[in-house]
Symmetry: C2
Subunit: 172 residues, 2 copies
């Protein structure tokens, strides 16, 4: 096991601004490309990060602290909150603002000696620990950052010509 | 084909600062982890980006403009340039500085109506076009950014517990 709260927060507090720097001002061709039907665009990934910032990470952590395993974690309301008409820059600021609020709440809880071994009941996965929820929050940031750059790389699959032999991300 | 010079430069000019924002100040545990023996750490990926910024992209582009297919592109000198003892912050600044210099050179060449269909001779891949070299530069940024976040996510493979079912990046 490698989870460490200080190191986890290092990643969580960097993701929104790194993505903001990388994506703000990009052409729509980058932001609206996907990997084929039924896959997400870069913009949709950011909307997903906003959704989970609203509904999943801190709400679930607080629910586990209050309810333990007595009630299953509420399902995510996947249709809520997102203003699809806002610009990518507005979405990135929204993500950053929500993340900052959530990390502020998390740091307050840490001052109360948060017990990372507390357990809750996930409706599909069964018993889950706070430690696992926090680890997943970090990995989720990393996963979707990887997805964003993979989706963008896919646009140039044909353009790189013979170099495709050397480029691992496009071998799938 | 999707390559477009303006859009390619959008990515190339963002990568160094996005990585600088994401990686500066991270704990060594993040920077020095890898995916097992013979794989790269985050720090080694940045060193690789510096190497290719020195040796590959603009030098090859200039070589193709000068020599066409008359001589093969020089091999990369993979042992040069890198000061392994510098901090990650120093390496990220070096990458950003080299990238800025290279994009300045590229923009000067663009003013001379650079012919993207010019061809050179790659020692292993055969005939390559300027357009393909430039596309590969972009995809290479994206590939190694994906690698960085994948290496970091790997550290928490065991920590996320039952959530591994939902986390695609760790399924391999």
């Amino acid at each position: 096991m490698n989870f460490n709260m200080k190191e986890a927060i290092e990643v969580l507090e960097r993701t929104p601004q790194a993505l903001e720097f990388f994506l703000s001002g990009l052409s729509d061709t980058w932001l609206n490309c996907n990997e084929g039907e039924g896959t997400w665009t870069v913009t949709e990934v950011i909307e997903h990060l906003i959704e989970l910032e609203n509904d999943a990470w801190m709400p679930r952590l607080e629910f586990i602290i209050q309810e333990g395993e007595s009630k299953p974690l509420p399902s995510l309301d996947r249709s809520s909150h997102i203003n699809e008409r806002s610009s990518i820059e507005q979405k990135l600021i929204e993500f950053k603002t929500l993340r900052t609020q959530n990390l502020t709440k998390l740091k307050v809880l840490m001052d109360t000696e948060l017990n990372l071994e507390l357990t809750g009941l996930h409706p599909r996965l069964g018993i889950v620990k706070l430690r696992e929820l926090l680890s997943t929050w970090v990995v989720h940031d990393l996963t979707h950052t990887a997805q964003i750059v993979r989706v963008m790389a896919e646009r140039y699959r044909a353009d790189i010509g013979p170099w495709k032999e050397y480029i691992g991300i496009l071998k799938k």
